[in-house]
Subunit: 256 residues, 2 copies
């Protein structure tokens, strides 16, 4: 079976308080799509964050001494650095224009996941508006899943994604930051390979593979298709999923 | 437009000397698929490596002193470590059961990209057979592209992928190791976002996003669908592509 990734059309610009479930249903209706058991919606964090009003104006942020110090090293706005630090558990690396942190949500990402683009327009020309990640993307995903499952009367998956850089490789890729129904990891350990030679380590980051594929057709920034519908995900949906499944235990992480 | 990823059926087990272009054409014919301008074939490195006879028996490998030393630290077979080191430019980290290296091909990966699964069966029960990466996956991709473009009389892309682990996150994801026609990076720097607020750093690792999405439906090991056909890749194909586009410059890499 094919994996089919379809960007939702007719999705409006999102403002604080908007009902994302309603916007998705409405888009699906206008596109005249049928929704089936096992379908997944992949949603960029930007629209979830906006709907949850995670928008901050830098003019309201007072940088503390640590932020000022870090800002000098990396060359970023000290007010933005203050926000990055307040969104993070700890700093992993500092480079020119970049701060790699362990986010409060557990994953490692650049600049605390704070986004500077696609926000300012909501409030006119000012460039001081930034967007923080949703407070709990797993919760946001679960709520959305409940709403959409009631609406469509089938079992669905929800994946909230962001674009992350990687160690060693150029470019950003779509990466999961919250999920409901979609398994983060599919464990193939111990399953036989084609020749019955037992596989010793094969844990597939299924949610991240889906996040990357969906991100490819979301387009970045200028195109604005923040939701993708996926059909043909090859593994069963599950209720007991959590972004933590995808986060490597610190003790087993060679790159902290 | 949707992105449609379709695993090729009727693809046989590959042996050294097999003609991958022919096997792909034959599969496409049996599936009665039409091939269009801009379509991409994503191929797991295992079948390329096998067709290029990159199979080694560990009993023929004599570990040197450095391999013996590293083997003690990581707990791997010293003969396998010898091969890993000979496939690599340098060692980045050593952990229990794992050696992270800079491969001779330039990218960072675990255990020199040497694969222990899905090989032994070719030669009976022995478990000493391992598979090295193709000597030059970009070249393999270019040759395959030329053959298939002649066959189908359209412009095509070829992506050779492997499953890589990541820093900080659990699980493996499909990752590009060679390409022809498919842009590794799509550069959105300087393009306006939805609100004309210029994006400062947005380089999309388009080939890696496609690699991950395709990998998701290849299944791992026990299912054996090593080639995926992609339609709907949202960027133009290009001739001047190279795996090096995806490799971060050492000087700008905070995680070496």
């Amino acid at each position: 079976m094919s994996l089919i990734l379809t960007p939702l059309k007719y999705f409006p610009l999102v403002s604080p308080g908007d009902d994302i479930a309603l916007l998705i249903s409405s888009s699906i209706e206008k596109m005249n799509m049928d929704i089936k058991d096992g379908d997944i919606f992949i949603i960029t964090q930007k629209v979830i964050s906006k709907s949850e009003n995670r928008i901050v104006n830098l003019s309201e942020v007072k940088p503390g001494p640590k932020a000022k110090e870090v800002a000098k090293v990396c060359g970023k706005d000290p007010r933005l650095v203050e926000l990055i630090l307040s969104e993070s558990k700890c700093v992993i690396r500092i480079g020119p224009g970049i701060i790699i942190v362990e986010h409060k949500l557990g994953f490692v990402c650049a600049n605390g996941g704070i986004d500077h683009s696609n926000v300012s327009g909501l409030y006119g020309d000012q460039k001081d508006w930034v967007l923080l990640l949703p407070i709990n993307p797993d919760d946001s995903a679960r709520q959305l899943r409940n709403r959409l499952q009631m609406q469509f009367k089938v079992s669905l998956g929800i994946l909230i994604i962001d674009s992350h850089g990687r160690a060693w490789r150029n470019g950003i890729v779509g990466t999961s930051i919250g999920m409901a129904g979609v398994p983060g990891i599919v464990d193939m350990r111990g399953k036989p390979d084609l020749f019955d030679f037992s596989l010793r380590i094969t844990q597939i980051a299924a949610a991240d593979e889906l996040a990357a594929g969906a991100s490819l057709i979301m387009g970045q920034a200028c195109e604005g298709t923040p939701v993708v519908h996926a059909r043909g995900f090859p593994y069963p949906l599950r209720d007991d999923v959590n972004i933590k499944d995808l986060i490597r235990d610190k003790k087993r992480d060679l790159f902290r």
